[in-house]
C-alpha cells in the first residue's frame, strides 16, 4: 500500500515572489495494492508533483509517503517497487528499444525480457530504430512496455495517454490492464480525460490548487453526487428552497418551471428530502465523473473569471 500522509510540498520562491509556492497542502490518501487509481485535477493542481513525490524525485516538505511501510525518498528498496512514466519521452530519443531494454535491465533485477520482447512484438515496434524516429504513440507504447517489463508492484503514468488516438489508447490500456491483472500490481494514472479515468479506474481522487477535494472508489464518489430534476407546478423552485430542504446544492439552474440541480449526497436520500415540497416532477439522474469534476471545480471558482470575460 502507498500511504500518503499529510503531505505538503513547497517550492522555493522565485525572485520577485514574496512567499514560497505551495504545490500541495496537507494531502492524505491511501493507495491499496491491486487497483487502478486515477489522479484527477485541473492544470497545475499538483498531480505531477504528487507523483514525483511518490517516486522519490522530490522530498516532502512536510508529511510522509510510504510504500509498503518504507519512506520512499532516497530509499532504493521502496523505489524498487515503483516505476514512473512521466509526461515526456524526449529523454529516450537517442535510445533504440534494445537500449531501453538494456537500460532498465541494469536497474531492475526482476526485469522480464520475455514480457518486453512479447509486448514489443505484439505492438510491432521496431527493435533497432532510434526512438527519435518513432511516432508519439510508438514512443509511449515503448515506455509503457518498459514499465510493465520492470515488473514493479506499482506503475505510475503521468498523462501517459494524452495525445494518443482513441484506437491507440485502447490498445495501450488493454495491454496495461492485462499485464497488471496477471500479477496483482497497481497502476496510478493521472489524466485530464475524466471519462477515461471513469472507465479505467476503480479508485480516483480529485485535487485542486494543491488541496485534496475527494478520494475513494469511483462508484462511491459517483454515488455521493446526483443530478435532480424537479418541478413544483405553479410555484417556482428556488435554490434557497432546496437548501432549506437540507440539500447541499453545487449548481442550480431552471428551465421554465423545471429546476435542475447538482447536489452532494446519495440519490435516494436527496429525493426523500425534496418529497416534502410535494413536487409534481422529481427524478434523479446519475452523474458521470466528468460532471462531478466540472461542478466541483466550478464551486471552487475554477475558470469562473474566464467564463465571465467571455
Amino acid at each position: 500500500m502507498i500511504e500518503i500522509n499529510n503531505v505538503t510540498m513547497k517550492f522555493d520562491k522565485n525572485k520577485g515572489e514574496k512567499e514560497d509556492f505551495t504545490a500541495l497542502d496537507r494531502v492524505s490518501i491511501n493507495i491499496p495494492e491491486s487497483c487502478i487509481y486515477g489522479f484527477l485535477g485541473s492544470n497545475g493542481a499538483g498531480k505531477s508533483t504528487l507523483m514525483r513525490l511518490m517516486c522519490g524525485v522530490y522530498p516532502c516538505t512536510e508529511g510522509s509517503i510510504k510504500i509498503d511501510g518504507r519512506e520512499v525518498f532516497d530509499d532504493p528498496e521502496a523505489k524498487g517497487k515503483i516505476f514512473f512514466v512521466n509526461d515526456e519521452t524526449i529523454q529516450y530519443s537517442t535510445y533504440t528499444l534494445k537500449d531501453l531494454k538494456n537500460y532498465y535491465k541494469c536497474y531492475y533485477p526482476q526485469f522480464s525480457e520475455e514480457v518486453f520482447d512479447r509486448l514489443t512484438e505484439k505492438l510491432s515496434l521496431p527493435q533497432n530504430k532510434r526512438m527519435s524516429q518513432f511516432s508519439k504513440g510508438m514512443k509511449r507504447q515503448a515506455v509503457v512496455v518498459a514499465a510493465l517489463s520492470c515488473k514493479t508492484k506499482y506503475i505510475m503514468l503521468d498523462e501517459a495517454f494524452d495525445g494518443l488516438d482513441p484506437a491507440m489508447r485502447k490498445i495501450i490500456k488493454t495491454m496495461i490492464v492485462d499485464e497488471l491483472m496477471d500479477r496483482d500490481a497497481a497502476m496510478i494514472v493521472s489524466s485530464h480525460n475524466v471519462a477515461e479515468i471513469n472507465e479505467l479506474c476503480d479508485r480516483a481522487m480529485l485535487i485542486h490548487q494543491g488541496h485534496l477535494i475527494f478520494a475513494g472508489e469511483v462508484d462511491e464518489i459517483k454515488s455521493g453526487f446526483c443530478k435532480l430534476q424537479t418541478s413544483l407546478g405553479s410555484r417556482q423552485m428556488t435554490k434557497e428552497m432546496a437548501e432549506a430542504a437540507g440539500l447541499e446544492v453545487m449548481q442550480f439552474s431552471t428551465l421554465g418551471s423545471v429546476a435542475q440541480m447538482i447536489v452532494r449526497g446519495g440519490a435516494e436520500d436527496c429525493l426523500a428530502k425534496l418529497k416534502g415540497l410535494s413536487p409534481i416532477l422529481l427524478e434523479a439522474v446519475p452523474l458521470t465523473l466528468e460532471e462531478i469534476f466540472i461542478y466541483e471545480l466550478e464551486v471552487r471558482g475554477y475558470g469562473a473569471d474566464i467564463l465571465k470575460e467571455n
Partner: protein, 516 residues
C-alpha cells in the same frame, strides 16, 4: 552484501555508459590516434649530450608528431567535460531527473555509479592509451631515465583528465541548467589552473624579491590543472621531479570529487532548471573569475581597461544568470559585489606587499649535497648616464665557481676542485648575510604599492628610476640550473659601493661573463 552493492553500482554505470555512444566514440578516436602519434614520437626522440660534471645529461623534446599526439590526448582529457555533462544529466534536465531519481537507487549509489560511468567513458580510454604508450615506449627504449619521462607524460595527461572531470562534476553539482553547468566548469577550470601560479608569481615571488623555485615546473603552486605544461617542457629529470606535483594534483581531484558528493547528495528534482542552485557557489565562481582577471591585468599593466572589462564581464554573467526581472537595485548590488571582490584583491595584494610576499623575502639558499655551485652578482645602475660615463658608479659583475670535487666537462677535460665543502658553504652563508643586511621591508610605502596598479608590473625588483641601483644575486649549479635568485634595489650610492665592496670579498669581480 558488498558484492551485491558493487554489482548494482557496476550495472547502473554500464547503463549510463551504453547510452553515451557518441561521447565514447569521440573519446576513443582521440585517445587511440593520440597514443599512436605519441608512440611514433619515441622512435624519433633525440638524445643530446650536454655534460659537465655529472656525466651525461639527456634532453628530450617531442617531435611535431609527439606534440600532436599530446595535443590529442589533452583534447581527450578536456573532453571529459562533455562526458560528465552527459552522465550527470539528471542535474540539469527535468526529464532525466524524473527517470533517474525514481530509479531504485539512493543518492550515494547514483553518484558512485555515475563516477564509475565517467571513469569507464573518459578515464579508462586515457589510462589504457597511456599504458600502451608506456609498454611500447619501454620496448623501444632501454634507458630507465627515458621510461621516467614517458610515464610522467602519461601521468600528467591522466591528472589533467581527472582535474577536468572533478571540476566539471563539482560545477555541475552546483548548477541546475545545462548552459551554466558547462560554462562555469570551463571558466572555473581555467581560473583554478592559472590562479595559484599567478598568485605565487605576483604576490609572493614578485613582492619578496627572492626566488628559490629555480624552474617553472618545480614551482610548488604549479598544481591542479596546469601541470600538462610540465610534460611538454623540455626537461631531463624523468619522473622524480614532478611526481609529487602530479600526486598532489590527483589528490586534489579526488578531494574535489569527495566534496562534490556532499553537494550532489543534497540535490533533488526541485533544483533542476535553476541556473545556479547554491548562491555561495555563484559568489565563489564570480570571485575566482574576477581575482584571476585582476591578476592578469596587474601583470599586463592595463589596469584601467582591465577594471572596466572585468566589470562588464561580471555584469554580463550576472544578467545571464538572472532569469527574473532586473531592477536598478540589483545592478547596485552587483556593482557592490564587484567592488567587494576588488577590495579583497587589493587587501590581499597589500598584505603581500607589506610583508614581502608573506615573509617569503626571508627565504635563503643553503648548500646541501651539491658538488659544485656558481654564485654571480650583477649590479646595475638604473641611471644610464652614470652607468656609462661616471667612473664612480658603473655596472659591475661578480662571479665565482665553487667546486668541492673534480668534475668532468663535456670534452672529457677534468676540472679540478678549487675549494673545500666548508669554504663553499661559508661563501653561501656570507652571501646570505649580505642579502639579510640590504634586503628588507624598509622601502615599502603606499605610493610604491599603488604604482602596481598604474605601472607595468613585470619586475617589481627592477627600478628604472635614475637614482636606483639594481643588484641581482644568482646561485646556480654548473649546468646553468638556477637554484636561487635575490633581487635587491638600493637608492643610495654609498650603500651601493659598500655592497659591491662586500661582494668583492666573497666573489671575484670581472667585466665579462666567465666560461663554464
Amino acid at each position: 552484501m558488498v558484492q551485491t552493492y558493487l554489482k548494482k553500482i557496476e550495472l547502473a554505470s554500464r547503463a549510463e555508459c551504453r547510452n553515451r555512444k557518441k561521447i565514447r566514440l569521440i573519446l576513443l578516436i582521440l585517445t587511440i590516434v593520440g597514443a599512436l602519434f605519441e608512440i611514433k614520437d619515441y622512435k624519433v626522440m633525440t638524445i643530446t649530450e650536454n655534460a659537465y660534471n655529472d656525466g651525461i645529461r639527456f634532453q628530450r623534446s617531442p617531435s611535431l608528431e609527439g606534440i600532436f599526439g599530446a595535443f590529442l590526448m589533452f583534447l581527450a582529457a578536456c573532453f571529459g567535460l562533455f562526458a560528465v555533462h552527459g552522465v550527470f544529466s539528471d542535474l540539469t534536465s527535468k526529464q532525466n531527473a524524473d527517470i533517474q531519481l525514481s530509479l531504485p537507487m539512493n543518492a550515494k549509489e547514483r553518484y558512485l555509479s555515475k563516477l564509475m560511468a565517467v571513469f569507464k567513458l573518459h578515464i579508462l580510454p586515457i589510462l589504457t592509451a597511456g599504458i600502451a604508450v608506456i609498454l611500447i615506449g619501454s620496448a623501444k627504449e632501454d634507458a630507465f631515465d627515458m621510461m621516467g619521462y614517458i610515464v610522467r607524460f602519461q601521468l600528467v595527461t591522466l591528472a589533467v583528465a581527472l582535474f577536468v572531470d572533478s571540476v566539471s562534476i563539482f560545477c555541475m553539482s552546483c548548477c541546475g541548467a545545462k548552459a551554466e553547468g558547462i560554462y562555469t566548469s570551463i571558466i572555473m577550470g581555467g581560473c583554478i589552473s592559472v590562479l595559484p601560479i599567478m598568485f605565487f608569481m605576483e604576490a609572493i615571488i614578485g613582492f619578496s624579491g627572492v626566488d628559490n623555485t629555480y624552474s617553472f615546473y618545480m614551482n610548488p603552486f604549479y598544481v591542479f590543472g596546469g601541470s600538462i605544461l610540465t610534460a611538454l617542457e623540455e626537461v631531463g629529470t624523468g619522473i622524480g621531479a614532478t611526481m609529487p606535483y602530479i600526486l598532489a594534483n590527483l589528490l586534489m581531484s579526488f578531494a574535489t570529487l569527495f566534496a562534490a558528493y556532499f553537494i550532489y547528495r543534497r540535490r533533488d528534482g526541485r533544483h533542476v532548471g535553476k541556473p545556479i542552485v547554491y548562491s555561495l557557489f555563484l559568489e565563489l565562481f564570480m570571485f575566482t573569475g574576477l581575482t584571476t582577471l585582476f591578476f592578469v591585468f596587474v601583470y599586463t599593466g592595463g589596469w584601467s581597461i582591465g577594471l572596466t572589462a572585468a566589470l562588464i564581464i561580471c555584469i554580463v554573467i550576472r544578467i545571464i544568470l538572472a532569469r527574473a526581472k532586473i531592477t536598478p537595485i540589483k545592478f547596485v548590488i552587483w556593482i557592490g559585489k564587484y567592488a567587494t571582490a576588488l577590495a579583497i584583491f587589493i587587501v590581499l595584494m597589500g598584505a603581500a606587499y607589506y610583508t614581502g610576499g608573506f615573509g617569503y623575502y626571508k627565504v635563503r639558499y643553503h648548500m646541501n649535497n651539491e658538488k659544485a655551485i656558481n654564485i654571480e652578482a650583477t649590479a646595475i645602475s638604473a641611471n644610464p648616464s652614470s652607468a656609462y660615463t661616471s667612473s664612480e658608479t658603473k655596472n659591475r659583475y661578480f662571479q665565482r665557481d665553487f667546486r668541492t670535487e673534480n668534475t668532468t666537462a663535456a670534452n672529457d677535460v677534468t676540472v679540478p676542485a678549487n675549494c673545500t665543502r666548508e669554504e663553499a658553504k661559508q661563501a653561501v652563508e656570507d652571501i646570505n648575510d649580505l642579502i639579510d643586511r640590504y634586503h628588507n621591508l624598509q622601502d615599502r610605502d603606499n605610493e610604491s604599492f599603488l604604482s602596481i596598479f598604474t605601472d607595468n608590473y613585470s619586475n617589481w625588483y627592477y627600478s628604472h628610476d635614475y637614482d636606483y641601483y639594481n643588484i641581482r644575486i644568482t646561485i646556480s649549479d654548473l649546468k646553468f640550473n638556477t637554484k636561487y635568485t635575490a633581487n635587491i634595489t638600493l637608492d643610495d650610492e654609498t650603500e651601493y659601493e659598500e655592497f659591491c665592496s662586500e661582494l668583492s670579498k666573497i666573489l671575484e669581480e670581472s667585466y665579462t661573463e666567465s666560461y663554464r
